[in-house]
Symmetry: C2
């Protein structure tokens, strides 16, 4: 969103492009919106979406919990005064020495999706709480999910029962319906699978009480996605239908939804050119690309809305390319992007909803370009 605060920041024209600027008021608003929409559900902010200190401090002051992907993220949160009780080591694949470090720092909740990982946790973090991520359909997600995280529900049920014998406390399950998910109906499929795991383990004497719904709540990109209410309504409906008889702790792990729309990237047009006399599709080269903070343009998966100084003027087809010498550093070629014919070298453009999964992916210095600058206002 080009909020008033961001517009004022940009109007001062103080920094060389490219940079990310995030309006913290929107971060707060998005957080509050989720809390309001899902009363009784605890938020664990997915730190990986944007680990900037001002974002973490703001959410800490809102008493958010944090879903962390690494020991480094855990140490960062603790340094900012977050209690270890509010942290979940949510990555299902961890080095045993990192589990141990987290345990020694007071972290008590760990994710897993395989027996060897469960055994690591049992050795390095005895008597702690564990939850198992299971696989659920994620079609309809813009940012593709694979089978990388999670196991089949029958394995999940077996492992949760085995956890007891390993001296661990099997809390419950987690799943992820896919990032930037356009099909809220996937929630009910996942919730049914979750309930089935609760039932199967219960039959074996293991009573689960924790339901981690993951993320998937969308930001607004070029093609409008469904709104947050469509997601939360599905969740509430599914919870009522399937978990009304259970006393459980339900949690969500939003990342993109909290910070995505809060940030924009300003970039400069470095060149507009023509490749062939016979081809009038222009090539527009920006000073940001795939390796400078926009990894989610991979395979043109996330299609950002782009603002230019001439948005009401006549447009024409373009290929939009990044600044590096790498030939694959192209943002959009096959997605039908059109930009104003007036757009020319030196113009500033804004890439909207770029607050999530951007700056922290910047390369350390490919082609010698420095990492993306970040401002939090």
């Amino acid at each position: 969103m080009l909020t008033k605060k961001i517009q004022e920041f940009l109007s001062k024209d103080q920094f060389e492009t490219p940079f990310l600027v995030v309006d913290l008021d929107i971060v707060a608003k998005n957080y509050q919106k989720l809390v309001d929409q899902l009363p009784g559900v605890d938020v664990f902010y997915a730190v990986k979406a944007n680990p900037a200190i001002p974002v973490l401090e703001l959410l800490r002051d809102f008493d958010s919990n944090f879903d962390t992907a690494s020991i480094q993220e855990i140490e960062l949160c603790l340094k900012l005064g977050v209690s270890p009780e509010c942290l979940s080591f949510g990555h299902t694949v961890k080095k045993e020495r990192d589990i141990l470090r987290a345990f020694n720092l007071g972290v008590k909740t760990f994710a897993f999706d395989s027996l060897p990982e469960l055994e690591k946790i049992a050795r390095a973090a005895p008597s702690t709480n564990v939850f198992c991520r299971f696989l659920t359909p994620n079609d309809g997600a813009d940012w593709p999910l694979t089978d990388k995280f999670g196991c089949s529900p029958d394995i999940a049920a077996d492992l949760l029962c085995q956890a007891v014998g390993l001296g661990l406390n099997p809390l419950g399950v987690s799943f992820h319906i896919g990032s930037q998910q356009k099909k809220p109906s996937n929630w009910s499929i996942a919730l049914e699978k979750a309930r089935r795991i609760f039932d199967v383990t219960s039959e074996r004497g293991v009573n689960l009480s924790f339901l981690n719904l993951g993320g998937g709540f969308p930001s607004q990109y070029r093609v409008p996605s469904c709104n947050i209410e469509q997601h939360t309504e599905e969740i509430k409906k599914g919870m009522k239908k399937l978990f009304d008889d259970k006393v459980i702790r339900a949690v969500i792990e939003p990342g993109r939804f909290i910070v995505g729309d809060a940030g924009i990237i300003q970039s400069e047009v470095v060149l507009v050119s023509q490749k062939k006399y016979s081809d009038h599709k222009r090539w527009v080269y920006l000073d940001i690309g795939k390796f400078g903070g926009l990894p989610e343009v991979l395979n043109e998966a996330i299609q950002y809305e782009i603002k230019t100084p001439y948005d009401n003027e006549k447009v024409g087809p373009v290929v939009i390319a990044g600044p590096t010498c790498d030939e694959v550093d192209i943002l959009y070629d096959h997605s039908g992007y059109q930009l104003p014919l007036k757009l020319s070298i030196g113009d500033k453009i804004e890439i909207l909803s770029a607050g999530a999964y951007s700056a922290s992916y910047s390369s350390v210095g490919f082609n010698g370009f420095p990492p993306l600058k970040e401002y939090y206002i």
Copy 2:
């Protein structure tokens, strides 16, 4: 290559994985090999392939020239004592203020592939040498080339003639047959196009004298590529046939060939797991992936050879995944990789020929993981 020097380095087991270790003797050997194979052709090392200071210093001491992609790379080379005469600002898309900075630092040779870029150079770096990159077929390349750099040969000829009127010195042309190119026959197609540009401009009174053959020379990955001699023979044959009557300066811009085989990445197996009872394909999670220094596994384009402690033992199919919480951080799923059944958590593996296009692409800290460590021995 697991050279003796690298093996000794690894045997000391002094550093936590993941890291890149580069044997500088191989860098020197590769450089010398190209010089020997192509007498009279000047080498411009493509700094972007690996901008580590020990690599640049070594090549500086061999009197190499340097192909640079950014003002930052230019400043780095100059800081190391490279003469600006030995630098080419080889990126065809540059900010005008960066061209000016390069000009003020003494750089005299600039690439372009469009009229607006030529005009930028004319304004910011008057009276300097320019060469135009044209498009040529690049099928057969493992790392895909697009039309991102270069223009059609007819545009190239027109622009080189226009350069004179803009007060610039039109040196000649450049092209790129594609990175990790398996079809050396592409050289003759490109050389014929180049000759045609020389002839067309000559008819208009502009005599070119510079032929930049680009890169494309392969490293050795999982499936053996053609060897360097097949490339250099094609070049020599083509040059003799097409440019024997011309007095020209021919240059090459190798990057991957110089540093690729010289480096290996050591990584640790973090988890080996099973997703479904019905699927016996194992998932092997490493502590390095797409966002930690292996960008060229994108779409499984570059297929690295992987060494394990059990290379003569029985193998089985695997998906190989990276350490981040990003679902797309998978190295290989569809390329038929097999790894030893014995491979387990904590084992160290080596990713061979990883000296090029690796460390400098590492993310600054996605998931909190630090950038890839590098050692030059």
